[in-house]
């Protein structure tokens, strides 16, 4: 949620010397009253949600007395607006506005610079207003190494037709606005309206600032929970997914819920893409085949099998999906067997009953397809694997056939089971999980196949013929064990199911219990 609320944005402006109305944020009617009392003059109450046109929705109210502020706050708090439930309102001095302007900073991808836009007309419906008055709109790019200089701002404001005392106030404000944007790594800042009051003050009456997702780590003070741009608060499952991704920098895992139900006449499926462009193209392909995607998901950047596994578990925590579609660009540079193993572990644990079409083209796709083919034959749901020579459109058509053949059964989200692990089992920690090996099984195992399955060669057989780490435990934990899952899959499908790899997903158990409880 790198988009900040109005009250947060204004706090940053105030800190940077940009004048904003006096006020504070309230979460209860009593707090609203206290703020109004402290201000000692008429106030405006504004719901804190990310939607435009709050006034039209009744989300902006005025109050002349503290008692009235309390009463209006009681009405606003708890109000439902689109996907939001209002839990905070901003209580501010009511301004006597004489003029409304507009100021904004966005990224100019052609100039590769921030672009400042100022319009001497602003307010509600600013887009239409400026279309009618193009001469009032001025813009200039900012050199990031010098920042916006005062004279640059002044010339700009002059060009918009403003002179007199407001000129200097506005140009000063714009230079400060540009430096707030810079300091807080804002992808965009918007002040609409910027106002001049009847007593001649220039203030940012409203403000929205969006912090660059990639720079959120530089601003722990902002308390941003999810560094991703959402146009609504994240769902519980999105939070779970984000937490799972947060501390693991090997590749990326992005998860976004899009629909709970299929649109009329369409079929709901889970979507698992790899790489932005390929995912988008694959999503276009399934949507034009009559599917509704429940979610968008992308695991890319050469993720380990453990990450793909977690993504699949999250996708399969969505009840009602009737198919699973995994497809990326088709010719990926990443080692596709990692994705294949992650999917196999997840599908096997779920005992997947719905059909799945997996398009894993690219590096080592033959191995990947073979892994999926060998290990997933016995599931109730049919899993088919495709490679780079199969276009996404054909794969989407295949999924449609499989769903039809299988009678369109829905995926059931069951509570998570704790794996059974002997307390005596040999075990060691990995970067994000734990591997346990039940050595009592290994004595009767001739292949010792787990050892050769381990590509990084970190397992060996000890004197008693049992597989153990060939490296130190801290080394394994630091990442020498790549969480490729090969040892577990080998043993599960060819030997005695002695290996268990636990890859916790904090919060998913509770989430699933909640779903199972509801149904």
């Amino acid at each position: 949620m790198a988009r900040l609320y109005e009250f947060q944005s204004k706090a940053l402006l105030r800190g940077g010397g940009v004048p904003v109305p006096e006020g504070a944020v309230a979460s209860s009617p009593a707090e609203a009253r206290a703020i109004a009392e402290k201000l000692g003059r008429p106030v405006v109450l504004k719901i804190q949600v990310w939607v435009t046109g709050r006034a039209g929705l009744g989300g902006i109210q005025f109050a002349d007395t503290p008692a009235e502020a309390e009463e209006k706050a009681a009405r606003l708090l708890g109000m439902k607006v689109k996907n939001f439930v209002v839990d905070k309102i901003l209580v501010e001095e009511k301004l006597a506005v004489e003029f409304e302007y507009f100021a904004g900073i966005v990224m100019d991808d052609a100039a590769k610079r921030p672009l400042l836009v100022f319009s001497s007309v602003g307010g509600t419906g600013v887009e239409d207003i400026v279309r009618k008055h193009p001469d009032k709109v001025v813009r200039r790019t900012i050199d990031v190494r010098t920042g916006l200089r005062e004279f640059e701002a002044r010339n700009m404001v002059l060009r918009s037709g403003i002179s007199g005392p407001a000129l200097l106030q506005i140009s000063d404000l714009l230079t400060k606005l540009a430096s707030v944007a810079r300091v807080y790594d804002a992808r965009s800042v918007e002040v609409n309206p910027l106002v001049r009051t009847v007593d001649g003050r220039i203030l940012a009456a409203d403000c929205h600032l969006v912090v660059d997702d990639y720079a959120v780590y530089r601003h722990p003070d902002l308390g941003i929970e999810i560094a991703r741009e959402f146009d609504r608060p994240p769902t519980e499952l999105e939070r779970v997914a984000y937490k799972a991704e947060e501390k693991d920098y090997r590749g990326t895992f992005y998860f976004l819920q899009m629909a709970e139900k299929a649109e009329e006449g369409r079929t709901l499926i889970g979507f698992h893409g790899a790489g932005g462009g390929g995912s988008m193209m694959s999503m276009d392909a399934v949507q034009s085949r009559g599917f509704t995607v429940a979610n968008y998901c992308d695991t890319s950047g050469n993720p380990p099998a453990s990450k793909v596994y977690r993504a699949a578990k999250v996708i399969l925590s969505q009840p009602g999906i009737k198919g699973y579609f995994a497809s990326g660009s088709g010719v990926a540079s990443q080692e596709q067997y990692n994705s294949a193993r992650g999917l196999v572990k997840a599908f096997a644990e779920e005992n997947l009953a719905i059909p799945a079409v997996i398009r894993l083209g690219g590096n080592f796709e033959e191995e990947a397809i073979q892994i999926l083919g060998t290990y997933l034959q016995d599931l109730p749901g049919r899993v088919e694997a495709f490679g780079r020579d199969d276009p996404p459109e054909a794969c989407a058509a295949r999924l449609a056939d499989l769903v039809a053949e299988g009678g369109g059964i829905s995926h059931e989200v069951r509570p998570m089971k704790e794996p059974l692990i002997q307390t005596s089992a040999y075990s060691f920690a990995t970067l994000t999980g734990r591997i346990s090996i039940d050595h009592s099984q290994c004595l009767h195992c001739e292949s010792k196949g787990c050892i050769s399955a381990c590509a990084p060669r970190i397992l060996k057989v000890d004197e008693d013929g049992r597989p153990v780490l060939a490296i130190s435990e801290p080394e394994a934990k630091k990442g020498k064990c790549t969480e490729c899952l090969a040892c577990e899959l080998y043993c599960r499908f060819h030997e005695k199911q002695a290996v268990t790899i636990e890859l916790p997903i904090p919060g998913l158990k509770e989430y699933r219990d909640g779903i199972a409880g509801k149904s």
Binding site: M107, D108, V144, H208, V331
Partner: protein, 300 residues
């Protein structure tokens, strides 16, 4: 010929001792890229896959001679420093592979590159590859695959998606149409070399006779390519696919964005503008090779 890179380009790898650096150094070297040195501050004196490692770009340059291009694999938070270091040492082409580089860092790199009259590709790029000559970045993953998948020839590829760069290039090669250079411009909203900049290079490259472009919704890159064509600065045949048709357009939150760009950035705007100037916009990426074959065939 090719653009950006050929077999003679003298290449450096920054972050060569990291997780990705090591693996991709092997890819680049095995493919035949002229990799002369690597840099990881504090690891000078080592070797990675036979490539000497130095403590700084300047030191590397002093030991091995001029560097034409640097491929950067350092963590996102350190990218700015690494890029500025390379520019300061006179490197004229950077390929910035990492994802999640803060946007203001990219803007600073852009300003420094402009001043140094250097170019950069990325961030968030798989890099670029001139078949049979060199690869910068990680396209293809392993040298053997990259050699099999991508054949030399007359078609240039420019793509906003890494995976689709390889996919389109592979489909073209499979169809018997070879490639001059394939470029993943990077997935971020601000990139060093966007589609129009790549088109200008393809325009100048005598070997490139047609170009395939994979565009996406967002940014103004594809519209600016249309502008270039209109200004006759790009005159070669272009076949384009735009991804994101099914994406929900959603509410626009940024008035400033709307004021500046109007509806530029949308699927309709891109396809409309490109068709207006005569670009062949296809409905499925898999149709690209056939269209290119048609165009090249009719010209031959």
């Amino acid at each position: 010929m090719s653009i950006f890179v050929d077999g003679k380009t003298r290449v450096l790898i920054q972050g060569i001792t990291g997780r990705e650096g090591v693996v991709r150094a092997q890819l680049m070297k095995d493919y035949g890229t002229n990799v002369l040195a690597g840099v990881t501050p504090g690891r000078g004196g080592r070797e990675v896959y036979g490539i000497p490692v130095f403590d700084s770009v300047e030191q590397a340059r002093d030991r091995v001679g001029e560097i034409d291009a640097s491929v950067i694999f350092v963590p996102a938070a350190l990218v700015k420093n690494a890029a500025l270091e390379a520019l300061a040492a006179g490197v004229k082409l950077l390929v910035i592979v990492p994802d999640r580089v803060p946007i203001y860092d990219v803007l600073e790199i852009a300003a420094a590159a402009e001043e140094a009259e250097a170019r950069f590709v990325g961030p968030n790029t798989l890099g670029l590859l001139s078949p049979g000559k060199a690869v910068l970045g990680m396209i293809g993953g392993r040298a053997q695959r990259a050699k099999e998948w991508f054949q030399p020839g007359p078609v240039g590829v420019s793509s906003r998606s890494g995976g689709m760069t390889s996919a389109i290039a592979y489909y073209l090669s499979r169809a018997g149409l070879g490639l001059s250079t394939i470029v993943h411009v990077g997935g971020d909203s601000i990139v060093g070399s966007s589609h129009p900049e790549v088109m200008e290079l393809f325009e100048k490259d005598p070997e490139t006779r047609a170009v395939a472009m994979f565009g996406e919704i967002g940014t103004t890159q594809e519209e600016r390519v249309a502008d270039l064509i209109e200004q006759k600065k790009f005159t070669k045949p272009l076949v384009a696919f735009i991804g994101g048709k099914a994406a929900k357009s959603g509410t626009r939150f940024s008035h400033a964005g709307a004021i500046v760009d109007g509806n530029r950035g949308s699927y309709e705007s891109k396809v409309g503008r490109l068709r207006e100037v005569g670009v062949h916009v296809v409905e499925a990426a898999a149709d690209i090779p056939a269209r290119i074959a048609e165009i090249l065939g009719s010209k031959a």
